[in-house]
């Protein structure tokens, strides 16, 4: 049976992990390569690096970081953050990423989705969508897409942009609820379900995870195909394996043993 994926996400700034699990016995708890390997060993179905470097110098170290991490990773590995052209994507693939995720650049120039897909396959292109419910019309279908790290509204509906991204050749959608992000109060299940039902490609839910129940909810009610776990491991869940064991008790199909 196809399992629901738990994806471990690491925010990387200038080659260092900004937040993530602090495994007690790590030699270097800020090293993305070491943390990625540890998450994979604990059962993460995929690893995502989100490059949040604000400076050009910080970005320069990304390829080296990806190369070092990829050396030890034998699960799917996605890199996102700041990729604006097909050539920049090519460099990230060369360094060892299996998929790239694009956000603002895809909205600015949607042809980019097809350009990267034509060279590396649709399965390698994840379109990341940051969405927020509209104050005037809070229904999930009206949630609006934001870019530039959630600072700039685009006037586009998340559901409609996800559909366009799929038509242009995206392989997956990574949907982050800006309303839920950071709250630890649970994923935005209605929003995730609205997007997941609008497309045929897999939808990865992100934002709001606080406990294992939230994952069960987003798989059941949110119809998510995968869920991103980042800071949850700071707050009471030891690692991916523990999370998956809870999900299995809830009847969610997960890859165990991993």
């Amino acid at each position: 049976m196809l399992t629901r994926r738990i994806i471990a996400c690491l925010d990387v700034n200038a080659g260092r992990v900004v937040k993530g699990v602090q495994f007690v016995d790590l030699v270097d708890a800020g090293d993305p390569a070491e943390l990625a390997a540890r998450h994979a060993a604990a059962g993460a179905d995929e690893i995502v690096f989100l490059d949040i470097s604000a400076t050009h110098e910080g970005r320069g170290t990304l390829l080296d970081t990806v190369r070092r991490a990829a050396q030890r990773l034998f699960v799917p590995f996605t890199v996102g953050g700041g990729i604006r052209t097909a050539d920049e994507a090519a460099a990230v693939f060369d360094a060892g990423a299996d998929k790239i995720s694009i956000n603002s650049a895809a909205l600015a120039r949607p042809e980019l989705i097809g350009e990267i897909g034509a060279r590396f396959g649709a399965q390698a292109v994840i379109v990341a969508i940051d969405a927020r419910r509209a104050a005037g019309n809070p229904a999930a279908e009206y949630a609006e897409v934001f870019v530039a790290g959630g600072r700039t509204p685009t006037g586009r509906r998340a559901v409609e942009w996800a559909r366009e991204a799929e038509q242009r050749g995206a392989g997956e959608i990574l949907l982050t609820s800006m309303d839920a992000d950071g709250t630890r109060g649970g994923f935005d299940c209605p929003l995730t379900a609205a997007v997941s039902e609008a497309v045929q490609i897999p939808v990865i839910a992100s934002g709001g995870a606080g406990n294992a129940q939230h994952f069960t909810q987003v798989f059941r009610e949110g119809k998510a195909d995968a869920a991103l776990a980042a800071s949850i491991f700071h707050f009471g869940i030891a690692d991916v394996r523990v999370l998956k064991e809870e999900l299995r008790r809830d009847g969610i199909p997960v890859r165990l043993p991993c």
Partner: protein
């Protein structure tokens, strides 16, 4: 030396890295001559079946056919496995190698999503002889898939039956329907999933391919 065939269909970095991790001496090449002299051949591939046309255009199809006839071990991955059949409804005008009979089909649209993306289980062949690719791999092990087209499973688990080898089904997986997730017959093997992205299970499968020696 193992030739990893580069026919400009996706990124080969992960396949090469995984093969090297299990000790292979890898040469990435699109030269028919280099493929003809390789000890083993791996044909990866993601994307569209039509991309395999390039294999015909630059002489690789014939080089592979000849190598297979000489008993050189061959492993096709994803589209590289699908290419072993006669063709695919994804690109009806483009013939496959035709080593195994049959056509690749698209998952039917319905309640489940297409493509099939993620970790799913493989049920491996034990009769009439255990699949060599899966020596030491437990039944229902998880591997990573990403595809919309599949190789139909033929007469799997019916025991000794000459038709079993019609497409050499070596493992099956269920998603919407039960399809062939691996094939093998004599020196020719193929996997629909990505062993290079399937953790320890995947590395074990690659090692089995490397260590298998024709008698």
């Amino acid at each position: 030396m193992i030739a990893v065939v580069d026919y400009k269909a996706g990124n080969l970095t992960s396949v090469v890295k995984a093969l090297r991790a299990v000790g292979a001496d890898v040469l990435v090449t699109e030269s028919a001559a280099e493929i003809a002299s390789a000890e083993r051949i791996v044909l990866p591939g993601v994307g569209h079946f039509a991309a395999t046309r390039r294999l015909d255009d630059i002489g690789i199809t014939e080089a592979v056919r000849a190598a297979i006839r000489r008993g050189i071990p061959f492993l096709g991955i994803c589209v590289g496995m699908q290419w072993l059949l006669e063709g695919s409804s994804e690109a009806p005008e483009q013939p496959g190698l035709g080593y195994f009979r049959g056509q690749c089909e698209r998952f039917p649209e319905g309640s489940e999503k297409v493509p099939h993306v993620g970790w799913n289980e493989i049920l491996t062949r034990t009769e009439p002889s255990p699949a060599r690719l899966f020596a030491g791999v437990e039944q229902n092990a998880f591997v990573y898939f990403t595809h919309s087209y599949f190789v139909p499973a033929i007469n799997f688990r019916r025991g000794p039956d000459p038709k079993l080898l019609e497409n050499g089904t070596a493992a099956v997986t269920h998603y919407i329907e039960t399809f062939a997730s691996a094939v093998e017959h004599e020196n020719v093997m193929g996997v629909q999933f990505h062993p290079e992205k399937s953790g320890e299970t995947g590395l074990r499968i690659l090692r089995n391919f490397l260590e298998w020696t024709p008698c």
